[in-house]
């Protein structure tokens, strides 16, 4: 592969600019849908971009008592993790840019970078809200990660491959996995919401308790990068779930319909519930989510 093409893949499509743009577009759809469900007007279509431009133009304050290098590096690492993960998933229904056996595990790890970085970012500062937020972020990481992984393994085991590309291709050939593995789909979707800290799993950034959680001390660039990373993760997460459970993504139209369909369901779930306390989140995942996912996995293996 020549260098120009590699650079194009990394910087423009699907890795760089494209992912950022689509991330902001999806964020807008999400915000607008939740707003409409709550009987509000919601933001204009360019609001996420405007927010981002504003944040980038703002002064970045490095608070006292932080490790400066870590403070600056963490948002970059978080965004880089999310962008790298995009290279292995079938964005827009195209073949992933890079693919190798076992890339599913790598992608899932890359997606977890975000929560890890946020936890570290919170623990790095001396702000009390950040510290409590960091504790909650990491607690939440430990609670949703295992069930989410188990839910993702279901299709992998059935198709007999650990390569996202192959699972995606095979998912389109049989019954949609949402029909054969409904529990896995549910766990994956709700796990994605936990990953993105969307309501009702937004205890780590519950504004009425701990202001903005782990990111309380971040302003300007750092905050913008974290938010961009989250937007990218939203797109990648939706792509993964749609590719695995909704019969694969073969072309751009399918991609749009399936991911946006998932987003509508997610927006509905976001506006339906009151925020869960962190102990309730952990309880929900380990007592119900993990057990259900495990049970389904056992059934799949035995069959």
């Amino acid at each position: 592969m020549n260098t120009a093409l590699t650079l194009l893949l990394l910087l423009i499509f699907p890795g760089g600019l494209f992912l950022l743009g689509s991330g902001m577009a999806y964020e807008w759809v999400d915000r607008k849908l939740v707003a409409r469900f709550q009987n509000r007007i919601g933001p204009r279509w360019f609001q996420p971009l405007a927010d981002m431009v504003k944040l980038l133009a703002k002064e970045e304050i490095t608070p006292q008592g932080v490790h400066k290098g870590l403070f600056i590096a963490l948002p970059v690492v978080a965004l880089a993790g999310a962008l790298t993960a995009a290279l292995y998933v079938p964005l827009i229904g195209f073949k992933p840019s890079f693919s190798f056996p076992g890339d599913l595990v790598v992608t899932l790890y890359l997606l977890s970078m975000m929560s890890l970085c946020m936890g570290l970012a919170g623990a790095n500062t001396v702000n009390r809200f950040s510290l409590v937020g960091a504790t909650r972020t990491l607690t939440q990481l430990f609670s949703y990660e295992a069930p989410f992984l188990l839910a993702m393994l279901g299709p992998a085991i059935v198709t007999g491959s650990w390569q996202i590309n192959q699972i995606n291709a095979q998912a389109g050939n049989t019954w949609w996995f949402i029909l054969t593995q409904p529990i896995g789909f549910l766990v994956a979707l709700v796990g994605l919401m936990g990953k993105l800290e969307l309501p009702p799993f937004d205890a780590p950034e519950a504004e009425t308790e701990i202001v903005s959680g782990a990111l309380t001390e971040y302003s300007g660039r750092g905050l913008a990068l974290f938010r961009l990373g989250k937007d990218a993760e939203l797109v990648i997460g939706l792509t993964l779930v749609a590719a695995f459970y909704l019969g694969g993504l073969a072309n751009p139209l399918e991609f749009l319909l399936k991911t946006l369909g998932l987003l509508v369901v997610m927006a509905g779930l976001q506006s339906l519930f009151a925020r869960l306390r962190i102990d309730q989140t952990v309880g929900l995942w380990w007592r119900i989510g993990a057990l259900l996912a495990l049970a389904q996995l056992l059934v799949l293996i035995i069959l």
Partner: protein, 393 residues
């Protein structure tokens, strides 16, 4: 304080500026992980000197001054004040005026409880309920605007009566609004009682026994949710409540969920009462003549504000200005319930627990004496004046 101690005591400060607070107040929660082991409250950020201010204004001006004690329960403050002054002047207000006063105070109660429902839901992260309840609150706000011309400070009361009258058109509008709100309130009651995530945040949280409520002298819906039958509209009826009795809304659970249920039931009771008042609205005059100078004497006027018992002490020296007015607002009585109930709960419960008493910060700010390094700092009036001159030089 050594570093070791600092680690042992991890204090999460909420306020004076914090997204959970709509008004400034300062709360310190000592936490052990997520568990709260201690709570402290400091108020006094919005002291406005109203009690002093009323002493230099005449009896009529003070109605408008005192309405501004609170932005949500403005009418009830004016009612407490006018009832007290009328008692001092020995004036009997016409029944129609009393009925309209009662009607507006019930409308205000609905508006206050719906506002509270939204705020409390928001503190619990249930923004959908927040948005919906505030949308429906607009109905009652619009009704208040229709009958009085204002959305917040209605200025319905004047000494010796009221200054607004109800005609057929307005009565029809109120009835229509009540029908709509009744349907919505039943829906909210259903949400409060059945939504699993919401119940998870409210049931068994901040439980206060009736004995505790008595000891901490809780008032209003906070006390009634703990099974303390305390409602001035029933215990000592004022205005038109003797003619239009209300039913007491009680719950014995004492937790946050009970407070939701009690307040929503009070809304339903208010719809019933408003319809009854409209059905039997007495005919007659709206005002009687009041003397400009109020005879010497002192009185205590107590009313039931949306948040609980509101007491006014009014003293007249026989002039056209009050000699002293002392206001005891309901929120002040309820703060104690938070600090004693908070311990042992999770940090995540604190915002809802704070919101649970429906706190109103600005109406309970008193002069506070700050002990800084064990040296109390006391400023006389002259000191304050000099400080002010120096500050703005």
């Amino acid at each position: 304080m050594t570093k070791q101690e600092a680690f042992e005591k991890f204090i999460v400060p909420i306020g004076p500026q914090h997204p959970a607070l709509k008004e400034p107040g300062h709360f310190e929660f000592v936490v052990d992980g997520e568990i709260v082991t201690g709570a402290a409250i400091r108020l006094g950020y919005v002291h406005r000197g109203i009690e002093k201010g009323v002493e230099s204004r005449n009896w009529t001006q003070n109605i408008y001054m005192l309405e501004r004690v609170c932005g949500i329960c403005s009418h009830i403050h004016a009612t407490a004040y006018t009832l007290g002054v009328e008692q001092l002047a020995n004036v009997t207000v016409p029944p129609r005026a009393q009925a309209i006063r009662t009607l507006v105070s019930e409308l205000e109660r609905i508006h206050s409880h719906l506002l509270w429902l939204g705020v409390a839901a928001h503190e619990g992260g249930f923004d959908t309920l927040f948005m919906f309840s505030w949308r429906d609150r607009e109905t009652v706000m619009d009704l208040l605007e229709t009958i009085s011309g204002n959305r917040v400070h209605y200025s319905t009361n004047i000494l010796g009566g009221v200054k607004i009258d109800l005609d057929e058109e307005k009565i029809t509008a109120i009835r229509k609004g009540m029908d709509f709100l009744e349907e919505r309130t039943h829906h909210y009651l259903k949400v409060i009682n059945t939504d699993e995530t919401f119940l998870g945040r409210t049931r068994g949280v901040g439980t206060m026994s009736s004995q505790q409520a008595e000891e901490l002298s809780a008032v209003g819906p906070t006390a009634r949710a703990s099974g303390v039958p305390r409602d001035l509209r029933i215990d000592a009826p004022y205005a038109a409540y003797p003619e239009f009795p209300v039913r007491l809304m009680l719950s014995n659970e004492g937790d946050l969920h009970a407070r939701f249920v009690v307040r929503m039931n009070e809304c339903l009771e208010a719809y019933r009462l408003i319809r009854e008042i409209l059905d039997h609205l007495p005919e007659g005059e709206l005002t009687v003549r009041m003397p400009r100078r109020i005879p010497e004497g002192e009185t205590i006027s107590r009313v039931e504000a949306p948040r609980g018992e509101l007491a006014y002490f009014i003293k007249s020296a026989g002039g056209d200005k009050p000699d002293r007015i002392k206001i005891r607002t309901p929120s002040l009585c309820n703060w104690g319930t938070i600090t004693s109930v908070a311990v042992g709960h999770k940090l995540a419960d604190m915002p809802m627990l704070l919101a649970g008493i429906d706190p109103c910060f600005s109406c309970n700010d008193r002069m506070v004496r700050v002990n800084r390094a064990n040296q109390p700092q006391l400023w006389s009036w002259e000191d304050l004046r000099l400080y002010g001159i120096e500050y703005y030089r």
